[in-house]
């Protein structure tokens, strides 16, 4: 029988704390999650990679600034350069920005407070491997929980890279242009502050995060078939 569960790596840094939730959610949505320790210099055979939320290296210096130099991140950079699918959630988004795999940077919330609540976001780009199950303009409710989610928009950022925005008036962190998520110009790297892995079951408040993660699982499955 043909293997249909794509293998999706979930990186584990010292201080990651959403790695297991991400792995559970990906498993529930049809993928085979593979935890990858940050010290690994080579990635196993994978169809996609997720950088989970948490506080890698204690968020020392700047969130994500130290994690980007871990051996596994060198491998993820090479993987992304070859077109591999990479999703960064919260701290994962911060790491991708610090690593230069996504433009911009995430700064402390303008309120200087940690925020933890459900927020409505609008899908600006439904044509990415991470949002394909959504409709353009669709509103999703997904929780955020972070202290450094204020996205600074570089002056040369092409507007079409803004893939996800907080609904006007619902911006939880002072993010410029209400940016909640960014996709790379090539379309294979995506980062967002909200936590889709915490919104995969309506019993827990919202199932909307499953639309994003299931989109990734679909795209990873296509890669698996192409590989097979």
């Amino acid at each position: 029988m043909k293997e249909t569960r794509p293998r999706i790596g979930v990186l584990v840094f010292p201080g990651s704390n959403d790695d297991r939730d991400a792995a559970w959610a990906l498993g529930a949505l049809g993928a085979e999650p593979v935890l990858v320790w940050h010290g690994e210099e080579k990635l196993p055979n994978l169809d996609a990679v997720v950088l989970p939320g948490g506080f890698s290296y204690g968020d020392y210096l700047r969130a994500g600034a130290i994690a980007r130099f871990s051996p596994a991140m060198q491998a993820v950079s090479a993987y992304a350069a070859e077109g591999g699918l990479v999703l960064g959630i919260c701290n994962g988004f911060q790491i991708l920005c610090e690593a230069g795999l996504l433009p911009g940077v995430l700064r402390p919330n303008t309120s200087l407070r940690f925020v933890c609540r459900d927020v409505p976001v609008v899908v600006e780009r439904a044509d990415t491997p991470f949002t394909a199950r959504c409709a353009g303009g669709e509103e999703l409710v997904i929780p955020v929980k972070h202290g450094e989610g204020c996205y600074h928009v570089p002056s040369d950022l092409p507007a079409e890279l803004i893939a996800l925005r907080y609904v006007p008036g619902e911006n939880p962190n002072g993010s410029e242009d209400d940016v909640a998520g960014i996709v790379s110009a090539e379309g294979n790297v995506f980062g967002l502050m909200p936590h889709p892995e915490h919104a995969v079951d309506p019993l827990l408040g919202s199932g909307d995060g499953a639309l994003l993660l299931a989109s990734l699982v679909d795209a990873a499955r296509e890669r698996l078939y192409a590989r097979a």
Binding site: F69, R107, S111, L112
Partner: protein, 81 residues
């Protein structure tokens, strides 16, 4: 050789910490203008000369100590230390 790196939010970059410090100082009766909050990093570096140390620390700043998108940095090298 010892050196100090000062990392500051760039001009025009919103600094909520600085704003909070400014408003607290004003509440305490200090009528300060703008306040900006940065970071100080004291380093011991292996270098024979000041310029060598400075060049090495510049590389550290570009790679790790500062994020050039939002932060500027200043290096002070103490040659006799």
């Amino acid at each position: 050789m010892k050196a100090t790196v000062l990392v500051r939010p760039k001009d025009g970059i919103l600094d909520p910490q600085g704003e909070a410090v400014q408003s607290s100082l004003r509440q305490l009766g200090f009528p300060v203008g703008e306040a900006r909050v940065g970071r100080v990093i004291d380093l011991e570096v292996n270098a024979d000369t000041g310029p060598e140390a400075r060049a090495e620390i510049e590389r550290m700043c570009e790679r790790l100590l500062a994020n050039p998108l939002i932060e500027s940095y200043e290096i002070e090298v103490v040659e006799d230390a």
